[in-house]
């Protein structure tokens, strides 16, 4: 499922997400047996009538692939689920906006991505069911990481537009074979201690690029954008102030992230590849870079791009330079005008519950936003064969529990795109960081008006 904060990401993740979901679904199709634990009388289903619920999604969310629709049909035999899928999240959002503006054509359940959740909260909160006022509100709220709940809520916390699906805690994924070849340490524990700050990370990268034994043409990190879009969310502010208004020029997150990213670019330790482009995709196996910032969903992406031949060559360090943060994630909301509101609420609550989120992790690689699910043994003790048997459940669970989340706003996607585009110019065209930054501000002004 594309956890994207840029359009391109959403676009590029699709193919691989789809691929990954099929592969993973093939490995464990026992999901429907262990999820029918809830009581199966008509009440919890929201209706006793035969009902077809439409669920508006983008990309490959993975519910169907993980067998959850079939499982729900067993819990609630009168409910049939029909997906209404748009490939790219940007197109999905445009369509959702059109439907919200006209007040018609809305599905019973609408997915909301982190790239536009702030817009939904600020401009459309009254058009969605408020999860603070549903009958199970207290129980629902208790399930999630508090920040996950807050991102989908108005600043006073009174209105919440969706229940969380997954999150994207970040670590560093790296090619242990390339680091070894360069004569550098390659075990996760050592690297975790060497990569605790961005300065250390960049210094390590310089060692890699200076190595005479690394493959020629290989650089340490994939792109300056990868550093930037991670570090920016480690500030007290990212792109917006506490009111959710764009505040790029005064943001500590932007300032620090720009410094680190342009430093890395000028030091020449980045491969200069724009993320989610064909050239970047190829580099997962070609070895054009050795490391990148890696949210949970990136694991499936890497596996899809690098292929089975690179199993065991990729590894994950249990660290994120500069502190734990998140990249991506979605919610499910129920429009106030939904045709089957009660049934839709019941479905979303069921999907958000612990068991289903555990299934989504096991069968789709989507890390739970439900903190009980994240603590469940099936998640917490999970290891990844592909990533050198890394204890991914523990790594990402730890990072999730330390997560710091700055306020988000209406135009984060476009603002981040403008800044990372200009970082590409610093990397590949030798543009000075100051010129690039003012060009980015110029482009951002076109968005914010």
């Amino acid at each position: 499922m594309p956890r994207s904060s840029t359009h391109r990401r959403g676009a590029a993740l699709l193919a691989v997400a789809a691929l990954g979901a099929f592969v993973l679904a093939g490995c464990g199709s026992k999901s429907s047996s262990d999820s029918g634990t809830g009581s199966a009388d008509a009440g919890p289903c929201g209706t006793t009538a035969d009902t077809t619920l439409t669920v508006g999604l983008f990309g490959t969310f993975g519910f169907k692939e993980a067998g959850l629709w079939d499982a729900y049909h067993q819990v609630c035999p009168n409910i049939t689920i029909k997906e209404d899928v748009v490939e790219q999240s940007a197109d999905y959002w445009t369509r959702l906006k059109t439907r919200l503006a006209s007040g018609s054509g809305l599905d019973d359940v609408q997915a909301i991505e982190i790239g536009f959740v702030a817009d939904v909260v600020q401009n459309h909160a009254d058009q969605f069911v408020n999860w603070n006022t549903v009958p199970n509100a207290t129980a629902d709220k208790a399930e999630f990481y508090p920040w996950k709940w807050q991102l989908a809520s108005t600043s006073d916390g009174a209105t919440t537009v969706g229940l969380g699906t997954d999150i994207g805690p970040e670590a560093i994924c790296y090619r242990s074979d390339l680091l070894k070849q360069a004569g550098l340490p390659s075990d996760p524990a050592t690297l975790a201690s060497k990569w605790s700050t961005w300065d250390d990370f960049i210094a390590f990268g310089k060692q890699y690029d200076a190595s005479s034994t690394k493959p020629s043409g290989s650089h340490f990190v994939d792109s300056a954008a990868s550093i930037f879009s991670t570090a920016v969310y480690q500030g007290d502010e990212a792109y917006d102030n506490a009111d959710g208004q764009p505040d790029v020029e005064n943001s500590d997150g932007v300032k620090n992230a720009w410094t680190y990213a342009s430093q890395a670019a000028q030091d020449g330790i980045t491969a200069g590849l724009a993320q989610f482009t064909p050239a970047w995709n190829k580099a997962f196996s070609s070895g054009a870079f050795a490391a990148l910032a890696c949210p949970t969903w990136m694991m499936g992406y890497i596996q899809g791009q690098a292929g089975d031949n690179y199993a065991g060559k990729w590894d994950i360090a249990p660290v994120l330079p500069g502190g734990a943060t998140n990249w991506g994630g979605s919610w499910l909301g129920v429009p106030d005008k939904a045709a089957h509101k009660a049934a839709a609420i019941a479905l979303v609550e069921w999907l958000s519950a612990k068991d289903q989120q555990v299934t989504m992790w096991k069968d789709g690689g989507h890390f739970p936003s439900n903190s009980d699910a994240a603590a469940a043994p099936a998640v917490a003790t999970a290891k990844s064969d592909y990533f050198s048997n890394a204890p991914v459940g523990q790594i990402f669970g730890d990072i999730s529990s330390q997560m710091k989340i700055p306020p988000i706003g209406l135009y984060d996607t476009q603002i981040q795109q403008a800044l990372t585009t200009q970082l590409t110019n610093v990397e590949t065209k030798g543009t000075s960081p100051d010129d690039a930054f003012s060009a980015a501000l110029d482009a951002i002004k076109q968005v914010t008006g």
Binding site: K97, T98, P278, T428, V447
Partner: protein, 337 residues
């Protein structure tokens, strides 16, 4: 002497029908074309007017019901905006780089295919194949060919020890690459239109010209070109409109991003409009761009027509060459009577 009889000076009578003015028949004709105009009103006129209305507001899709009237502010914003002028210049330069070689090549190809070649049908079908290829497929392939690191073009340059070119990041190379896609796709289409135009030119003219010793080049210049003038005007107008609206190729050339390269080096007006409207969610500004583009296209087509009319008038004057070019220096005998 058949040559004389078939020249269009003599053979084009049929005035009889014109004089028949049956009123009921006319009504029926209006009835027949009505469906088109209903569709036209719903899908062209209404959107035009609505776009004009939106362009006078500060509108975002997300807050559509809160649009506020701002008069011509969007237009002022646009015309004082370097993104607009960059896109405007790029549209013109890419338009020229793609259209001029394209139409010249199309004319040449059509001329060759007009001769009795062996396997003529095969060639005629073959030149149309690019046009039948989906734009997305073509652009993705070309983007791979022109990939600065892994592409075939740079590999070939490297192989013959020429410096490689940044077909993505540098301004002119990237514009040439985008123009190449356009040229590749549309040359065959235009060639076919030219070919159709050429086949309405009587072969007798060519035979007569050949008899007078005109070679293929002279025939092309003195028989084909003058006879094709209306067709050429049509293709120029259509290509101008197409160039002004260029969108899909530069969009897909940057992996579906509407920024036209990291420095907007091949962002066209169409891309800018899309970026403003759908990426930046500023529908008012995008609508202003749409109307500005419309006016630019109307102006460009107007200039085309004006130039050609002026030329026509010039040629109709006594002493000038006659319109259909039957009278030319190379083939004086044909028109002697």
């Amino acid at each position: 002497m058949t040559a004389v009889q078939q020249s269009d000076v003599i053979v084009r009578p049929r005035p009889a029908r014109r004089t028949r003015t049956h009123l009921p028949g006319r009504r029926a004709a209006y009835g027949y074309i009505l469906p088109f105009f209903l569709v036209f009103a719903a899908f062209s006129v209404y959107p035009w007017l609505d776009t004009a209305w939106v362009s006078l507001h500060d509108t975002r899709l997300s807050t559509y019901d809160q649009s506020s009237w701002i008069g011509l502010e969007n237009y002022r914003n646009l015309l004082t905006n370097h993104f607009f002028w960059n896109a405007f210049r790029n549209t013109i330069t890419i338009g020229i780089i793609s259209t001029v070689p394209q139409l010249c090549m199309a004319l040449g190809i059509a001329h060759l295919l007009n001769y009795r070649l062996r396997g003529r049908t095969f060639f005629r079908v073959a030149i149309l194949m690019p046009y039948a290829t989906s734009l997305a497929a073509a652009t993705v392939i070309f983007a791979e060919l022109f990939d600065p690191n892994l592409g075939l073009v740079n590999w070939a340059l490297h192989t013959v020890h020429l410096p490689t070119v940044d077909w993505q990041g540098s301004k002119w190379p990237s514009q040439i690459a985008v123009s190449t896609i356009v040229t590749w796709r549309w040359t065959g289409y235009n060639a076919l239109i030219y070919l159709a135009g050429m086949q309405t030119i009587s072969t007798d003219l060519y035979e007569a010209a050949a008899m007078d010793g005109a070679g293929r080049w002279a025939q092309f210049r003195h028989v084909t070109l003058p006879g094709l003038r209306p067709t050429i005007l049509f293709t120029i107008v259509v290509s101008t409109i197409g160039a002004a609206q260029l969108f899909g190729e530069p969009l897909l050339y940057h992996n579906g991003l509407p920024d036209g390269g990291t420095q907007g080096q091949y962002q066209t007006l169409g891309l800018l409009m899309y970026q403003q409207g759908w990426t930046n969610d500023r529908l008012g500004l995008a609508s202003a761009t749409a109307w500005t583009m419309f006016l630019i296209i109307v102006a460009a087509v107007g200039v085309n027509l004006w130039l050609s009319r002026r030329r026509e008038r010039h040629e109709r004057r006594p002493g000038g060459r006659r319109r259909h070019g039957v009278v030319t220096a190379g083939v004086p005998e044909v028109t002697a009577r």
